[in-house]
């Protein structure tokens, strides 16, 4: 049943892509329909056909079909994922594709079911939101068929990655996902920066894929097979196991955006259309996390605690650097992309803790870390999708992506503003929203480190917990800036001053669905964490019965005396306190409110220009943690006379250090190497034949010897 729904979902996604192709080729579809309709016995077809294929109706209808199929695909993925989680069984299948001796193996278990659910949620929200968002592309020269086709392929690729049960199929699906999303990043290719970002994205995706293929290669070398089932029962030596894990960590970590290989992510994710940015940041990064979990826990088995330390340290570095970089961004979608790096870091911290506990023989504590990572994956996909979609609405309505030109949207776009506020609260890990629950679980996992034997681990892990605390506070600062500058205050530009609520109802319905989930996942964490138990049963062989041992309103990872949290009672308490305060104030205080101009120190003339800017808001942190960024600050005054009233130009560039420290030297190295290699490419055919001849001789020598 669940596998059928998964197939249905993939097919709907592919069909949606195929249907999009016909936006340019109306004639083919019309002819096919005219030929098929009499066979199906439809009466009055010609008249209907004329109406359907009329010029203004057809594109709208086709678009409805494309996004409808995409929504159906999301729904099927969601239900299929839930039923795979609840069914607790493993479904396997073989598809008659692929190599003659290696058909595509398919497997749907609790782990892939959980991530299928994440994809389903993201795709449903994106397909509700998409029709309104792509409307403006119709006026420009952007080919909508390409967007529709690649979106369909992209979604299908992500789902096939989850379903793959052999290395060949996995890599094919992985490449389908990477390459189709390349076209989505390059969609608005008229700008050189977007082309550059797309190329960088493709390059990094392929380097990552090579690492993944090599990782599978190590496994296949021992297993003499490409099927995951054989991988599971193959035991590697400790050295080769670590080599395979490190390759996988590099490949999947690159795709997930772990520091220091993250620099492509904030370039590529923001330039895609917003609903695609949401899918890339909210969903595709989780597919990379899925790959790491599948590879590390399931295929390799025998988790070493040293791997956990590597993942934990990378995760901590990603979390703290991601959020520090996010805080300095002024572009809304870039800020969100950097914040994805932070959240992936938090997920990796949970995974790393889980590996450490598992590798040292404390499986029951490892479950807490794993559940924290899984729950944060779900939560991040919900609130990051929500934030990208609301940011997309802002972009769509104002054509501004710079915080310095936004402001005052809480009045101009009130509904979008409320939805964005929920997203900001959730991502800032504030109770009672969902982000808090998963960060709380990560803290609980980290605090269990006193049961470890190694003194170094015991002291390192709480330090990472304190770094996580810093990350949480900085995330709140980042999203206070995002919301405070973008939505509150006075409009800083004329576009923001004239903004209106998005006209298409889907552009509110998609985010509203996700905002509702933010609240639901925050208030009722215990039943949902119980739903995740099959995943930990599958990967670690045990569950955490105590988590829900005190009833469904309590979340108690250890026991009730160790730690407990009840989001429902928190909401009730907040509500009670709020209501009492309102009631008493209403009885006691002066109710009437006078409206007046704000305090301007008696000078008068407050304008949007006198507000605090986004750059100014983040200045104290920029100064305190100065070495983290490559900051270039230039102040240019116009006149030589000191007292003259001349315009002053201020320019600030905050650059990613990994760019200059890692990417630029690597690019230079490749170029230098290419120049060396070019020495043997003389252009003379005779010489090339000689190369072939000697290579052949050498190979013959190797083979026979």
């Amino acid at each position: 049943m669940s596998l059928f729904l998964a197939y249905l979902s993939v097919q709907c996604a592919l069909l949606s892509g195929a249907l999009a192709l016909f936006s340019e080729h109306r004639m083919i579809l019309e002819r096919a329909a005219n030929r098929l309709a009499p066979l199906a016995g439809l009466k009055e077809w010609p008249a209907r056909s004329e109406r359907l294929f009329a010029a203004p109706v057809y594109p709208r209808l086709l678009q409805k079909g494309v996004f409808g199929l995409l929504a159906l695909s999301g729904l099927a993925a969601l239900i299929g994922g839930i039923s795979a989680l609840l069914g607790q069984g493993v479904t396997v299948d073989q598809l008659p594709f692929g190599l003659p001796w290696l058909h595509w193996h398919v497997r749907l278990d609790a782990l892939s079911g959980f991530f299928l659910l994440i994809i389903g949620l993201g795709v449903i929200a994106a397909s509700l939101y998409g029709p309104g968002y792509v409307r403006e592309y119709r006026q420009t020269e952007h080919p909508l068929w390409l967007l529709g086709l690649c979106t369909g392929l992209f979604v299908a690729g992500m789902e096939l990655v989850l379903l793959a049960d052999d290395a060949f199929f996995f890599v094919i699906a992985w490449e389908l996902m990477s390459v189709s999303s390349y076209f989505l990043v390059a969609f608005q290719h008229e700008r050189a920066a977007n082309r550059r970002a797309a190329f960088l994205y493709l390059l990094m995706a392929e380097i990552g894929a090579i690492a993944i293929i090599l990782g599978f290669g190590v496994l296949a070398g021992f297993a003499h097979s490409y099927s995951f089932d054989v991988f599971r029962y193959t035991h590697l030596t400790a050295g080769w196991g670590t080599a395979a894990f490190l390759l996988a960590l590099m490949g999947f970590g690159m795709k997930a955006g772990l520091v220091p290989l993250h620099a492509w992510l904030p370039e590529a994710h923001p330039v895609a259309p917003s609903h695609i940015s949401a899918l890339m940041s909210g969903v595709m990064l989780k597919v990379a996390i899925y790959g790491l979990m599948r590879f590390g826990f399931d295929l390799l088995g025998d988790v070493q605690w040293q791997w956990g330390v590597a993942v934990l340290i990378l995760g901590t570095a990603s979390a703290v650097l991601g959020v520090l970089y996010a805080f300095q961004q002024n572009e809304i979608k870039r800020l969100l992309a950097y914040s994805s790096i932070e959240n992936i870091g938090i997920i990796a911290m949970g995974l790393g803790l889980s590996m450490i506990f598992l590798g040292t023989g404390h499986g029951e504590l490892g479950v807490i870390g794993l559940l924290a990572a899984l729950y944060h994956s779900l939560n991040h996909s919900v609130f990051k999708n929500l934030l990208f979609l609301t940011a997309g609405s802002v972009l769509h309505q104002t054509h501004e992506h710079d915080l310095e030109h936004l402001g005052g949207l809480v009045k101009r776009m009130p509904k979008t503003a409320v939805l964005a506020l929920i997203g900001c609260l959730a991502i800032s890990a504030l109770p009672p929203f969902n982000g808090f629950v998963s960060e709380w679980l990560t803290f609980q996992a980290a605090l269990q480190s006193s049961s470890l034997e190694s003194g170094i681990l015991r002291s390192v892990i709480p330090v990472t917990a304190a770094v996580l605390a810093f990350t949480g506070a900085m995330a709140a600062a980042t999203f206070a800036k995002f919301y405070g500058i973008g939505f509150l205050g006075l409009p800083r530009g004329r576009h923001a001053a004239r903004a209106r609520e998005a006209a298409h109802p889907g552009m509110l319905a998609g985010p509203a669905l996700l905002a509702g989930l933010c609240v639901l996942l925050g208030v009722l964490p215990t039943p949902i964490i119980r739903m995740l138990e099959p995943v930990s049963q599958l990967l670690l062989g045990q569950t955490l019965p105590s988590a829900s041992g005190e009833g469904w309103i309590w979340l108690t990872p250890g026991s009730r005396t160790v730690a407990s949290y009840s989001a429902l009672l928190v909401v009730l308490g907040l509500g009670l306190a709020w209501w009492t305060a309102r009631y008493l104030i209403g009885r006691l205080a002066v109710a009437e409110v006078r409206r007046s101009r704000p305090w301007d120190c008696g000078f008068g003339g407050l304008s949007p220009r006198t507000q605090y800017t986004s750059t100014a808001f983040s200045q104290p942190i920029r100064r305190i943690f100065a070495p983290i960024w490559a900051v270039r600050e230039t102040i240019r005054t116009g006149g030589a006379e000191a007292l003259e009233n001349t315009p002053v130009h201020y320019a600030l560039e905050v650059e990613d250090r990994s760019w200059y420290g890692l990417y630029a030297p690597a690019a230079r190295g490749v170029e230098a190497l290419a120049r060396r290699v070019a020495l043997i490419q003389t252009g003379s055919v005779r010489l090339y034949i000689a190369y072939s001849f000697f290579t052949l001789l050498l190979l013959l020598g190797v083979v026979s010897g």
Binding site: L421, A476, G484, A563, A589, Y612, A616, F617, P620, I624
Partner: protein
């Protein structure tokens, strides 16, 4: 019975909060050779603010008027989950100490947003400084608490207090460091000298006051009261975690009474210490605060390391 006390406790807490602020101010005035206002002055000020007509800026949105209620409600909730004069109450398990930090962060988040809502430079300036200080003090605070949580193997406040009571009076290096770190954090988080000055309205130095500059009337009353609850909250946390002796361990009237007396006595002591510190120290520059909080973080870290190195396995 325990349910009733769990309801009465936060109400008492909230009602007593302005008293601590008044006491601190009184001691401070005495130490500075000034004539002190009455102990009840904060109550009078709250009553005065409630009677005044609030003035709200024209461009303020709904968030500006909703924020004071959220700030107040989150402070009340935080007060409800902290053991005040009795340990074993059902409310204590609603949220542990990490969630407590979360409640305080929730209130601060809305206050920061409210500061930016009107669109004046002061509001933005205060908000920017507030998030800067908060992002440095929060990890230091959690680190101090983690040092304790790892010794007691719990993040639940009631269980942690139980643990300290059970082990008796013993000087543990980890507790001493964590206490020192916690005190520094409390000073920063409640906006006292040397980090911020609650009495100042000098434009360039104010932090908290800049953020709430546009508030008046009932809204300002709620925010001031929430601030007083926060001050008391940190006092109660320090008093009850590090010196829990005297807290009511059962629900008999006698022990509840003595528990209340004990906590009030401890709070008066802490308030007097705070007043003395505010008299002795001068407010520091904004860009010295990170050194102050970095020191707090370091102390907490030392606390945790000394727990791991010296105390585990002994």
């Amino acid at each position: 019975m325990s349910g009733l006390i769990a309801l009465v406790e936060p109400i008492l807490f909230i009602l007593a909060a302005p008293l601590l602020a008044g006491w601190t101010k009184m001691v401070k005035c005495r130490l500075q050779n000034r004539k002190a206002p009455s102990l009840l002055q904060p109550y009078r000020e709250l009553a005065k603010l409630l009677r005044k007509q609030p003035v709200v800026a024209e461009q303020a949105s709904w968030l500006f008027e909703a924020a004071p209620y959220i700030v107040f409600a989150s402070a009340v909730l935080a007060a409800a989950v902290v053991p005040f004069f009795a340990v074993h109450l059902p409310t204590a398990s609603i949220a542990d100490v990490i969630a407590l930090a979360g409640f305080l962060a929730l209130g601060r988040f809305f206050l920061v947003l409210a500061g930016m809502d009107v669109g004046t430079a002061f509001g933005g300036m205060g908000s920017s400084r507030e998030v800067t200080i908060a992002s440095l003090s929060e990890p230091a605070m959690l680190m101090a608490i983690f040092a304790l949580a790892m010794s007691a193997n719990t993040t639940n406040l009631a269980s942690a207090i139980d643990y300290v009571l059970d082990t008796g009076v013993a000087i543990r290096p980890s507790f001493v460091f964590a206490l020192a770190g916690m005190v520094l954090v409390a000073v920063a988080e409640t906006g006292r000298v040397p980090v911020d000055n609650p009495a100042t309205h000098l434009e360039l130095t104010m932090i908290h006051e800049a953020m709430v500059l546009e508030y008046s009337g009932k809204y300002l009353a709620l925010i001031e009261w929430a601030g007083e609850i926060r001050l008391m909250l940190y006092g109660v946390l320090i008093a009850n975690i590090f010196f829990p002796w005297g807290i009511a361990e059962d629900l008999s009237l006698a022990s509840l009474g003595s528990g209340l007396a004990a906590i009030l006595l401890k709070l008066f002591g802490l308030g007097a210490l705070l007043a003395a510190a505010e008299t002795v120290f001068a407010k520091m520059r904004l860009f010295r605060v990170q050194e102050f909080l970095g020191f707090a973080y370091l102390l907490s870290l030392l606390g945790m390391l000394s727990h791991i190195i010296l105390e585990i396995g002994q």
